[in-house]
């Protein structure tokens, strides 16, 4: 026996017995069970005496015969007496020579423990199987294996399911590969499998299969080798249905394509701006149409949010970035309009709509859409203008209806009064009665004239514009008004050849002209001359004497009527276009003529100007817009080089706004200007310092000295002084013999900048030539 006796170390009891059952040897574990010494046991006790009575019976009737018959007993449970482990497993082998036997008694607790461990392992493995089954089902993943070298294929349940097959007999490898929809995929999969088997590679194949029930699925198969003692004994694989992922990817791709398509085709820009809790806002996304508004591609525009602020029409920033930043800080929704000038110089209205959301971690995000609403804004403005016009028209119309109705009723009354007065007058009345009747008749006639004017005012004849030659209208009107104008009026016409055509209502134009002719006639009760003139003019910013704010810049045809009559007093001038305002004696004028002419000019897209000098005469100028595309467009005057050369101009003009305008023009042209608000003031300035090179003066001014008088006074001091006169009044006749010399240049208002400078230069040059 060695140092370590296994029999002494085991927890099992080891016992040998003789043929009579007496114990011949026992190990320590058995002696310890019995709690006896060796001498008390060996040769003293029978083994079966240590069993419970039931156990002893079972031993004698079952186990001993089995031992004799078979020579051994396999582990059988038996109960021992209480001073030993209750239940033991008893195994035995008989000694065929001695008739004795050897017994192993294993405590049943050990057995139970082993059994418990086994049970646990089984349970764990069942759990794992269940998990695997769940994974297979939930993830549509199956496992497969091919054993080598017999090439037998094994499938998990999921693989059968994924192939649309009942769980059961695996197909062979070739049949399995046959499920791939595309023959090319089949070859590819076979080649990859060969690579695993031959080279030990780990491979992956993605392809489509047609399942047994005819569905098309996207699948992915992995394969890896399993090594054992330097050989590949098996190929393990996973088989996964990735159709849902592929479909989701396709749907996502489609959605992305759709969204980016929308962003590109939207008539505007999508913009996302982000801002951290502390720090500046920045552009996180902007769609590519931003080029149209800002002239920059998205990546450049995104560099700085301030780039959004393109200047508006007045040069002020559009304030987009400030508005967005403020909304981000306050978390308020965005809804605003901005006006910007795009890179092409076009003015645009942009609408900004958006909402602000928290993006976590103190970040906020504004998602905005910016649309070009220029057309809508213009339509709104147009609508506003139209409704204003409609309100005005409705007002005029109701006034017209009221006036017309009143005139009608009034005429009926007048008719009775007049008729009966005349019947009276036809009778044989006394002379003083006749005088009284005549006075009443005259008053009735005046009333009739007034109602006639009211009716004319109320007449709502819509304009019927036609393309026509204004000269022809003038000729026709002259022909049929010639008879009504008195003989002591000299009528002159100066009609420009090649007059641009205009599109106007012929009758209304003739009527307006007639109105002006009648006014001119009435202004010259003692005779005089009447001038009708036509000209092509260009209205633009080049006029230095006045602004034509009420009509757009462009080409106009001018028709003017000038008389050498009484003129209109300056204090009356502002009122002459007001309806019912008249300076004529009662019964002579209705006060409606000029207001109708003005209304007609406005309706025709033109304007009317009046220039008058009391005691000299009056000029009315009608400006009709020239038909587009007719005649050559005269180029705007080039900005002349500065050429005043520092020469000094004494300017006498009583209208302060006009004076300021003239000073600015002259100074810009290089002249020094000394201003005077009247002729008298100009004379005083000159007496003090006669060092000016030229006098530029209005003809009519308040005070003692008018333009011509001022010129005479200054020339007494300096005879060679060049003088340029300005007047709105056109009739040449009015300026003869009143202080103007033949060389003097007279400009007619409105005066163009170029004409003014040219006149000054001409006046200065002629004086130098003729200078003595």
């Amino acid at each position: 026996m060695g140092v370590l006796d296994p029999a002494s170390l085991t927890t099992c009891g080891l016992v040998s017995v003789a043929s009579d059952g007496v114990i011949q040897e026992a190990n320590a574990a058995f002696l310890a069970w019995l709690g006896r010494s060796r001498s008390e046991v060996v040769g003293q006790m029978r083994l079966q005496d240590r069993f419970t009575p039931g156990g002893r019976l079972y031993f004698q009737t079952h186990l001993l015969p089995m031992l004799r018959l078979n020579g051994e007993i396999a582990a059988s449970a038996i109960n021992m007496l209480p001073d030993a482990p209750e239940s033991v497993l008893l195994s035995a082998r008989s000694d065929p020579e001695g008739g004795g036997a050897a017994f192993v008694l294993m405590p049943a607790v050990e057995r139970l423990r082993r059994e418990a461990r086994l049970t646990e392992r089984v349970a764990q493995s069942r759990q794992k199987e269940s998990w695997l089954a769940q994974i297979e089902t939930l993830a549509d993943i199956g496992a497969w294996a091919v054993t080598l070298p017999d090439m037998k294929l094994h499938w998990s349940d999921a693989v059968f399911r994924l192939h649309g097959l009942p769980v059961g007999n695996e197909p062979d490898l070739e049949t399995a590969l046959g499920y791939y929809a595309d023959p090319a995929d089949r070859e590819r999969a076979a080649a990859r499998f060969a690579a695993v088997v031959d080279q030990g590679a780990t491979v992956e194949v993605e392809a489509r299969i047609v399942t047994a029930d005819g569905r098309l699925r996207n699948v992915r198969s992995h394969a890896r080798p399993v090594w054992h003692q330097g050989r590949i004994i098996r190929v393990d694989g996973l088989f996964q249905d990735i159709t849902p992922q592929r479909e989701a990817e396709a749907a996502r791709d489609q959605a992305v394509t759709r969204l980016s398509g929308m962003a590109e085709n939207l008539p505007g820009v999508l913009l996302t701006v982000e801002k951290p809790a502390r720090g500046p806002a920045r552009i996180a996304y902007v769609s590519s149409r931003c080029r149209e508004f800002w002239g920059l591609p998205p990546e450049e525009l995104s560099r700085d949010i301030a780039l959004l602020d393109r200047p508006g029409p007045e040069g002020t920033p559009a304030g987009l970035s400030a508005t967005i930043t403020a909304a981000l800080e306050r978390g308020l929704p965005l809804a605003d309009r901005f006006r910007i000038t795009d890179p092409a110089g076009t003015e645009r209205w942009l609408s900004l709509c958006g909402s602000v959301t928290g993006a976590g971690g103190g970040w906020v995000r504004a998602d905005c859409i910016i649309l070009d609403i220029t057309a809508e804004v213009e339509a709104e403005a147009q609508l506003e203008r139209q409704s204003a016009l409609i309100r005005h028209v409705q007002k005029s119309e109701s006034l017209g209806q009221l006036t017309g109705g009143m005139a009608h009723d009034f005429n009926n009354i007048l008719a009775v009064i007049l008729g009966n007065l005349e019947l009276l007058r036809a009778g044989d009345g006394a002379d003083d009665e006749v005088a009284l009747i005549d006075a009443a008749l005259a008053a009735t006639e005046r009333g009739a004239g007034l109602t006639r004017s009211l009716l004319a005012f109320a007449r709502k004849a819509p304009l019927a514009p036609a393309i026509c030659d204004l000269n022809q209208i003038v000729r026709d009107t002259r022909d049929w008004t010639g008879r009504t104008l008195p003989a002591h009026l000299a009528i002159e016409t100066s009609l420009l050849e090649g007059l641009w055509p205009v599109e106007v209502d012929v009758d209304s134009t003739a009527s307006a002209l007639l109105n002006l002719l009648v006014n001119a006639r009435d202004a010259m009760p003692d005779g005089g001359s009447l001038t009708i003139e036509t000209a092509n003019v260009r209205i633009d910013d080049d006029y230095v004497t006045e602004r034509f704010d009420e009509v757009p810049s462009g080409r106009y045809v001018m028709l003017s009527v000038s008389d050498t009559g009484l003129g209109i007093a300056p204090e009356v001038l502002p009122h002459i276009f007001v309806p019912f305002y008249t300076t004529k004696p009662v019964g002579r004028g209705s006060g409606l003529g000029l207001s109708m002419v003005e209304g007609f000019m406005k309706q025709s897209g033109g304007t009317i100007r009046v220039y008058s000098e009391p005691g000299k005469g009056t000029t009315f100028k009608l400006y009709f817009p020239a038909r587009p595309g007719s005649g050559a467009v005269p180029a705007p005057l080039p900005r002349e080089a500065v050429r005043g050369g520092g020469r000094r101009v004494l300017l006498a003009e009583d209208e302060s706004a006009l004076r300021t305008l003239l000073v600015r023009t002259l100074e810009a042209a290089g002249y020094q200007v000394i201003t005077a608000a009247s002729g008298d003031m100009a004379a005083d300035i000159f007496a003090e310092d006669p060092g000016c090179d030229l006098l530029l003066t209005d003809i009519v001014m308040p005070g003692k000295l008018q333009g011509p008088g001022l010129a005479r006074a200054l020339r007494r001091l300096r005879p060679e002084l060049p003088v340029v006169f300005m007047s709105g009044y056109a009739a040449e006749a009015a300026v003869h013999g009143n202080g103007l010399e033949p060389d003097d240049i007279r400009l007619t208002k409105p005066v163009r900048r170029g004409d003014l400078i040219a006149a000054l230069e001409r006046a200065l040059a002629s004086r130098r030539q003729g200078g003595r």
């Binding site: 017309g404 005139a407 009608h408 009723d409 009034f410 005429n411 009926n412 007048l414 008719a415 009775v416 009064i417 007049l418 008729g419 009966n420 005349e422 019947l423 007058r425 036809a426 009735t444 009739a448 109602t451 006639r452 009716l455 109320a458 007449r459």
Partner: protein, 142 residues
Amino acid sequence: MDKARPRLLIADDNHEFAAYIGRAAEGAGWTVTSCADGGALLDSAAGLDCPALLLVDIDMPGLDGIQAAGQLARLENAALFRLRFVTGGAETGPLTARMIAEAGSIATGRSLFKPVRRMELLEILEHEHHVLDSLAEERGAG
């Protein structure tokens, strides 16, 4: 029938005006019938058997001057009428009435605008007297 006395039918709801025209016309030797409105004018006109001048106001209650012009043209003896319109209102009324009357082959003359001076009226009556005479001669010849 007295050939020297021409016939005048005046239709106006303004009785005083009609009375004034009537007196002036009678003084000039006309036989005058006054009608208060368009309906009365149609009744009187239908009974005419010699040429006559019809002086018709535009604005009348019931049948107005313009409507009357249309209906007069449908009368059998329409060829006997000379039509003149008179109004205190705008020119468009008489203009329309004349166009309607002439479309129905009734001869019309220049319209009168109230108030109407006696001299103007007498000139028109004299002119119309000649026209009616020549109408009567044509009928006599025809």
